[in-house]
Symmetry: C2
Subunit: 181 residues, 2 copies
DNA sequence: CAGAGCATGTAAGAAGTTACATGATTGT
DNA sequence: ACAATCATGTAACTTCTTACATGCTCTG
C-alpha cells in the first residue's frame, strides 16, 4: 500500500487533512497559496493529480457531494494515511533536513565578483531591503496569529523570523567585508 | 538567444565556469556533489543535458579534446554567457529570494502534534543532534577554507553556519515550549 | 442577465531522479 | 592482468509548472 517515502508536499497534504478534517483539493490549494514560503506553489496541476495519487494508494478517502451540480470531492485521512503521516514526520529524516538549506541569495553571492562594484552595492542594498520588508510582514503575521492561539503556526512563523534575521545578519557582515576593500 | 530567465542551477553552472575557467561536465558535477547543501545533487542526468542546452542557446562553448580516446568535452563561458550570468546575479531577484526558505524540519513541526509525546521528544532530540553535528562539520570546513583564502566560499559557509545556528536556537525555544505543558 | 471571480480540473512540456551502459585509467 | 574507480553519457520515469477549458455562483 505505502510504497516509497512520501515527498514533503504529500506529507504536508496529509498533515493538513489530519489537522483540519475533510477538505477539498481547492481548500488544500489555498492553504499552500497563502503560506509565507513561496516554495509551496499550490498550483492546480500539482494538487489535483496528487490527491488522486494519494487516494489510489489508500492514504486518503473521498466522497462526492453531488447536489445535482458539478461534483465536489471532499478528502479525509484514512488509517493508513495517518500511519504514513507519522512515518513521514518521525525520524529518521531525509539527509537534507539537517544540511544547509537552499538559499537563492547565498548561491548568487558566491559569484558576486562577476558584477562590477556598483552592481554589487545595488545587489546588497536590494537584498537587505527585500529581507527587511519580508521580516516586517512576518512579524505582523506573528502578532496576529499569537492572538489566534494557533500554536503550530506561531512556531513555524517564529522559525521564519529567526531564519530571516540570520540572513540579514549575514548580509550586514558581508557589506562590512565588501566595503573595507 | 537568451529566452527565459535562468534557473538557479543554470546560473550556478555559468558561475562556476566564470570562476574556474574551462571545465568538463564531470568537473562541474563534482563541484555540486561536494557542496555542503544537499540541494545540489549534481546527478549526471541533470548536468549533461543541461550543458548541451546551454551550448545550444549560446551561453557556453565547448571543444573536444580527442586524443584518440573517448571524447572529452571542455566547456567555457561565451560573452553571451557572461551577460546571462550577470543578468541572473543582479536584481531584480525572483520572489523566493526574499521569502522564508524551505525547511523540511519546520514543515514537519507544523504537524508535530500528530505524534505521541514520546515520538515528539525523539523528534526534537534527533533534530538537535543532527543540526549540531552538521554545524560542527561546517565550522571545520570554515576553518579550512579560511586558510585557503577562497573568500566567496568563506562567505557562503558563514551563511550556512548562521542559518544552522538560527535553526538550533529555534529548536531550543521549541523544546522549552513543549516541555512546559 | 452579464461579467467577475470562485472552483475543478486537464494537457503539454520542463527539469530532475534513478538506474543503467560502457569506455578509460590506475593500483596491486 | 584484473578489479576498482573515474568519466561520459542515455533512457525511462516522476513531479511540478504554465496555460488552458469550463462550470458554477454571486453581485450590480
Amino acid at each position: 500500500m505505502e510504497e516509497s517515502p512520501l515527498t514533503d508536499l504529500e506529507g504536508a497534504v496529509l498533515g493538513l487533512l489530519w489537522r483540519s478534517g475533510p477538505l477539498t483539493a481547492y481548500q488544500i490549494r489555498t492553504e499552500f497559496l497563502h503560506s509565507p514560503t513561496s516554495h509551496w506553489s499550490g498550483s492546480a496541476g500539482a494538487i489535483y493529480p496528487l490527491m488522486r495519487r494519494l487516494e489510489e494508494i489508500g492514504l486518503v478517502g473521498s466522497e462526492e457531494e453531488s447536489t445535482g451540480r458539478r461534483p465536489r470531492r471532499r478528502y479525509q485521512l484514512t488509517a493508513a494515511g495517518l500511519a504514513a503521516l507519522r512515518g513521514w514526520l518521525a525520524p529518521p529524516h531525509p539527509a537534507d533536513a539537517y544540511t544547509v538549506l537552499f538559499d537563492p541569495l547565498r548561491t548568487r553571492i558566491l559569484f558576486l565578483d562577476a558584477l562590477d562594484s556598483a552592481a554589487q552595492r545595488l545587489f546588497l542594498e536590494e537584498a537587505e531591503a527585500g529581507l527587511e520588508r519580508h521580516l516586517q510582514e512576518l512579524e505582523e503575521i506573528y502578532r496576529q496569529i499569537q492572538e489566534s492561539g494557533d500554536r503550530p503556526a506561531v512556531l513555524a512563523t517564529r522559525a521564519g523570523i529567526l531564519s530571516t534575521r540570520a540572513r540579514l545578519q549575514w548580509l550586514a557582515e558581508l557589506r562590512a567585508a565588501v566595503s573595507e576593500d
